[in-house]
């Protein structure tokens, strides 16, 4: 989040510096635009379609105790969110040669592995805990809608887009809501299984990124981009402690950009 803010401020700084240079060109354009045949040298709208590869992995651990058979049972879960990919689509509007806004969505999902374990006291003997481990695989979706301020820097057929802004992340995940155990006489071992619960939570976050565009034609180009999403969410299963996850992370990918 902090990195994202710094990036966002940097972009704003570049933007403001550019804006002071750009104002003249805007004025020039304004003057030229008084003549109907002198249309602006840039197109106002753009559509970006892309595919991103996520680089962020994340792990989170929770543990808790519960009194059972007059002793403390220990439970623990290690979540590991793997890298995930996303589809990205955005609609841009440029209100000057260098500046514009972009509204987009990022449809992302990644696998979430949970390794959980328990130390369950013996029902009949003190100090004879039984250990058990198990694992489960889930999915976490992190669909984001974002609104970015865009700074465009044309370099011949190439162009650089710097963008940053707030994001609204719709996250959902299936998580362990309870760890159940089963045992039978003589209780020398115990098996555990997870009860799952699906959670959905929407949070505000931020995003920032940069893309390098190569324009084949005045209207169509391809781009490579790096984008960073950030947002924190806390899920609260009923029988286990809450789980805090950082959503998004760094993504890189490419796609096509059409301007019109």
């Amino acid at each position: 989040m902090k990195k994202c803010s710094i990036l966002f401020l940097t972009i704003l700084l570049i933007t403001s510096l550019s804006f002071s240079r750009d104002r003249n060109s805007w004025n020039n354009i304004s003057i030229r635009s008084s003549s109907p045949e002198n249309k602006p040298g840039w197109k106002k709208f753009s559509i970006r379609l892309g595919y991103n590869v996520g680089f962020a992995t994340q792990s989170a651990s929770i543990s808790w105790t519960k009194e059972l058979y007059y002793e403390q049972a220990l439970f623990g879960i290690d979540y590991r969110a793997k890298k995930g990919n996303s589809f990205n689509a955005a609609l841009g509007y440029r209100f000057s040669r260098s500046f514009g806004v972009m509204v987009g969505v990022d449809i992302a999902a990644r696998n979430l592995n949970a390794n959980y374990d328990a130390s369950i006291p013996h029902p009949l003997y003190f100090n004879s805990p039984r250990e058990a481990q198990n694992s489960a695989s889930y999915k976490i979706t992190e669909n984001a809608a974002y609104l970015d301020l865009v700074l465009t820097v044309p370099i011949g057929k190439f162009g650089l887009d710097f963008f940053a802004g707030p994001a609204y992340i719709l996250s959902s995940a299936e998580l362990i809501s309870a760890v159940q155990y089963s045992q039978s006489y003589p209780y020398t071992s115990v098996t555990i299984s997870a009860q799952n619960q699906k959670f959905s939570k929407n949070v505000f976050g931020a995003n920032a990124g940069v893309s390098l565009i190569f324009n084949f034609t005045p209207s169509v180009g391809v781009f490579i981009a790096g984008q960073y999403f950030s947002g924190n969410v806390r899920f609260k299963p009923s029988e286990v402690p809450g789980l805090k996850l950082t959503l998004g992370g760094l993504k890189a990918g490419g796609g096509i950009k059409i301007v019109f």
Binding site: Y70, P123, L124, Q195, K236
Partner: protein, 571 residues
């Protein structure tokens, strides 16, 4: 006019849509902490709650809304809902599962299971609540399912195999009665044709799985064994030590009883026995702090069962889970300071402390000793007289010591494993009067029993010390020495397990450890010996039993040495 007619038709269609959809969205689950039989009045907002998120089983709604409505709206909507569900009952889509009487509230609750094309909808249930015959509430989960294909692409047998593979347990058996094709609602408007498969082992393991009947994917699984079923009590034993043990809850009271829930045997501990009735001890809060002897007896009886099961795979006294009973505070004066196994009622009795101030229920080895008498009854049936009787007692002492060493740390003092028998029976620690397996001669049961000095035979450790048959004032003393002479073989067990030198023969034995020694004795007593086996027979049985380790094994060689140490010549 045409536009007006179109608009009217549109409004009509929309109304029909609303009417048709709300009944499919009846869904209320209690919030965390509320009981599952929440009775509520159906509010207008609830009926219109098309936006109500309809979770499937196991994916609880964390924040369901239940709002109150005016009585009028409530009654109207209730009637409407009831009428709809009644029509579903007639179609066979709702089938009565359970009618619960609730006399305290003067209510009746009717539970209907939802079906679709004769297939049960997993978790679909409507509960109608009637008070004095009048409908006062409806709740539950009812899924709106339309045009759903109910033809499976895999067979039930395939689903069973897939579920076994998922559990990585190929030896499980399917419960044919409970395993069936169902409709499994996973998410709102998302239904699966699935097999509900129940797999289990004979005892203690049972899993339910929902397997997609088209793809074979395991959609959901959960264990059926609810460990919360175990009722475990906590208490303080005879010496103030802490134990946990199975109890039973009945009518608000806890009893020192376990009806094969914690252990696969019915186990009872009574505080009184009168008129052929065992009065089972009870407690209000399952914190047993008022009678240590009861707690110790109940705990130790369970531990004796556990030992035989864990070490020899033996299921109780008769190897068929014969129920086990012990009666503490048996008040007959003749049994003061004593304990006994009564084969007639198949129960262990513990007399009250008397002159010696012994509460034998407080000693794990005494409890295991009496328990082992029961085992003898169902195995060798050694006649309780003369040498066979001494072997009977010897076997009980041997197994009692093995149980003690299994559950307690070796050492000296209360609740420590040692070679004495009955040392924990008194409120103060003393080994005086206890049978001593390591050094039998250190004790004289005849002396402790109050016989005249001329009969103070030391407890024997060698065949040459075997007490002769004595009649004292016309009575056969100690059934022909069943207790006194028992120490010859229990000392042989000590030598074989621990190692040592016999005081009389001066012959030494290298110990092979308690586990192996106990195995040899257990096999001899339970597999090779019969009712009239005498000391000679026992020696042969032991060698036969030790042969399991091989004729050239150290175990066999040391068993021979142990026999030689107590006086036999092995050729």
């Amino acid at each position: 006019m045409k536009k007006l007619a179109s608009f009217f038709i549109l409004v009509l269609l929309f109304s029909v849509f609303l009417q048709g959809s709300y009944v499919g969205k009846v869904y209320v689950k209690p919030r965390p902490g509320e009981t599952s039989q929440l009775i509520f009045r159906v509010p207008k907002s609830f009926l219109d709650s098309r936006s109500f998120y309809n979770h499937a089983f196991g994916k609880a709604n964390t924040n369901p809304r239940v709002e109150k409505a005016t009585d009028k709206a409530c009654n109207d909507q209730l009637r409407e809902l009831h009428a709809y569900f009644e029509s579903e009952v007639k179609k066979g889509n709702l089938r009565i599962r359970l009618v619960q009487d609730d006399p305290e509230a003067m209510m009746e609750h009717r539970r209907y299971t939802q079906y679709y094309k004769d297939l049960e909808v997993f978790g679909g249930e409507i509960i109608e609540h009637f008070k004095e015959g009048k409908l006062v509430g409806i709740n539950g989960e009812y899924y709106e399912i339309r045009d759903f294909d109910t033809v499976p692409l895999i067979t039930k047998d395939t689903a069973v195999e897939l579920f076994k593979a998922d559990l990585e347990k190929s030896n499980l058996l399917a419960n044919e009665e409970k395993s069936k094709l169902i409709i499994y609602p996973l998410e709102d408007k998302d239904y699966y044709l699935a097999y509900l498969i129940v797999l289990g082992e004979e005892v203690g393991y049972s899993m339910t799985g929902i397997i997609d009947a088209r793809t074979g994917k395991v959609l959901f699984k959960y264990p059926n064994i609810k460990t919360e079923d175990l009722t475990i009590g906590f208490g303080y034993g005879y010496h103030g030590e802490q134990y946990k043990f199975p109890t039973s809850l009945q009518n608000g009271k806890y009893y020192l009883a376990d009806e094969s829930k914690a252990r696969p045997v019915n186990q009872y501990t009574s505080y009184k026995y009168a008129n052929s009735t065992f009065y089972i001890a009870s407690d209000d809060d399952n914190l047993w702090d008022y009678d240590g002897a009861l707690v110790s007896a109940h705990t130790f009886l369970g531990l004796a069962y556990d030992y035989y099961y864990l070490v020899f795979g033996r299921k109780g006294i008769n190897d068929n889970n014969l129920r086990i009973i012990c009666s503490v505070h048996f008040a007959e004066p003749d049994y003061a300071d004593n304990a006994f196994w009564d084969p007639e009622v198949a129960a262990i009795f513990f007399g009250e402390p008397g002159q010696n101030n012994e509460q034998n229920a407080g000693a794990i080895d005494v409890v295991a000793h009496e328990y082992s008498h029961g085992v003898t009854d169902y195995t060798s049936s050694l006649i309780y007289l003369f040498e066979s009787g001494a072997l009977n007692e010897s076997f009980s002492d041997i197994m009692a010591t093995a149980v003690e060493f299994y559950w307690q740390e070796p050492g000296s003092g209360f609740l420590k494993a040692d070679w004495y028998n009955g040392e924990d029976a008194r409120p103060y620690f003393s080994t005086t009067g206890c049978r001593n397996l390591a050094n039998p001669n250190s004790n004289s049961q005849m002396k402790n029993a109050g016989y005249p000095r001329s009969l103070w035979y030391p407890d024997p450790c060698h065949l040459s010390q075997e007490m002769p048959i004595i009649y004292y004032y016309g009575h056969l003393v100690d059934n022909g020495g069943v207790h006194i002479n028992s120490t010859i073989y229990s000392h042989a067990y000590y030598l074989l397990a621990n190692g040592g030198t016999n005081k009389i023969s001066k012959k030494s034995v290298i110990g092979i450890g308690i586990d192996k020694a106990t195995k040899i004795f257990y096999r001899a007593w339970t597999y090779y010996m019969g009712p009239s086996s005498n000391f000679l027979y026992a020696a042969n049985a032991l060698l036969q039993s030790a042969y399991v380790y091989g004729s050239s094994s150290n175990e066999y060689a040391q068993t021979i040495k142990a026999m030689e140490a107590i006086g036999w010549i092995v050729e």
